[in-house]
């Protein structure tokens, strides 16, 4: 007996999706083999594909395009040097994102340890002199960026990671959950708290600087 048309379409769709997933898995396996073999064309292929997302992600954490570029270089160096350790439990993109998140968090942690006072003064320096926006009570693009990144730096790292992955990479909840090795509901909660905290910090900043 034949299945109804709608069911047959569903089955076909599933098969197609499975075929696509299989093809991409095969492609990824081949790419990983080429990376392990040290093929330069494979190195370039990976970097061409993931350079932009990785720089974007690092920019979200650091707030600086130069630091993001340097960090991205470190990320790919680690990816290429430790490709043999990649066990294939996740997709290569998830693995690359994890390395990028760890490197970025370490960088931000070191930076705040190194020169927290200087960094804060630098970030708010222009705002405190009262010349830049007191007249029309508007912030410049640079000041907005500083406010945002100072607020981001002040929220817990898990919330920050979820926020950056969501906003800078436009990742879906399940994708963030994969990168962060957590559940979708945990990601939802992290994002909710991240936004709340961020809003509070920004409000404090505006209040302090505009009164």
């Amino acid at each position: 007996m034949l299945f109804p048309v709608s069911n047959r379409i569903k089955v076909q769709e599933t098969q197609n999706r499975y075929r696509v997933a299989n093809n991409s898995n095969n492609k990824e396996e081949k790419l990983i083999k080429r990376l392990i073999a040290g093929e330069e064309s494979a190195y370039r292929q990976v970097m061409d594909k993931y350079r932009q997302p990785v720089i974007r992600l690092c920019r979200g954490f650091t707030g600086s395009s130069d630091d993001a570029e340097d960090l991205a270089q470190e990320v790919f160096l680690e990816v290429l040097n430790s490709i043999e350790k990649f066990k294939g439990h996740s997709s290569i993109s998830t693995w690359i994102y994890r390395i990028a998140v760890n490197k970025s968090l370490n960088f931000v942690r070191d930076r705040s340890k190194r020169s927290h006072d200087n960094y804060t003064r630098e970030a708010y320096g222009e705002s405190n002199d009262g010349n830049s926006y007191s007249a029309d009570k508007r912030l410049t693009q640079k000041e907005h960026a500083e406010a945002l990144h100072n607020a981001l730096d002040s929220i817990p790292s898990a919330q920050r990671t979820a926020f950056v992955l969501s906003k800078y990479e436009d990742m879906k909840y399940y994708e963030i959950a994969e990168v962060m090795k957590t559940s979708v509901s945990a990601v939802e909660s992290l994002l909710f708290r991240a936004k709340k905290n961020l809003q509070e910090r920004l409000f404090e900043y505006y209040k302090k600087n505009l009164e």
């Binding site: 061409d48 350079r51 395009s65 160096l77 508007r138 693009q141 920004l202 409000f203």
Partner: protein, 146 residues
């Protein structure tokens, strides 16, 4: 909706994830409250930075730079000749020490076989054990006393 409630919902209102009813209430409040409206503008401005920062510059041979860095790191990691010689010398000393130890142990435990040892004439006269072995001398004395 009062100011404090609006502040709680503002970020969700700006990103468009608030339900219709709440969204309308916030909108209405913002129309009437200038300070909340100013805050909403600034929040919008700060969150708008994200869209700007998402734009990544063109590739200035990024891959080439990383590959060059990787090769230079590998070179610096490769062990220089001096280190190799140092390791070889250390290994030789250890091996020599082990062999010396084994030979000393053989002599001390008496397991060394000297029967095949050939002694030259010069050595014979220099080595007085052959002329008057101590063990036999004591043995003779001991026998005589008995």
């Amino acid at each position: 909706m009062d100011c404090s409630k609006v502040h709680k919902h503002l970020i969700f209102y700006i990103e468009g994830s608030l339900d219709n009813e709440k969204s309308k209430s916030v909108e209405e409040h913002l129309r009437l409250c200038s300070s909340c409206a100013a805050f909403a503008d600034m929040l919008r401005g700060s969150l708008g930075v994200i869209e700007q920062e998402k734009k990544v510059d063109e590739d200035n041979d990024f891959a080439g730079k990383v590959i060059a860095l990787m090769h230079s790191e590998k070179k610096s990691v490769s062990i220089p000749l001096f280190s190799i010689l140092r390791y070889a010398a250390a290994a030789a000393v250890i091996i020599l020490g082990v062999f010396t130890g084994i030979n000393i142990a053989k002599v001390v435990s008496g397991s060394a076989d000297f029967s095949t040892l050939e002694i030259s004439d010069e050595e014979y006269y220099l080595y007085d054990m052959y002329q008057e072995p101590i063990e036999s001398f004591f043995l003779v004395k001991y026998d005589e006393n008995e």
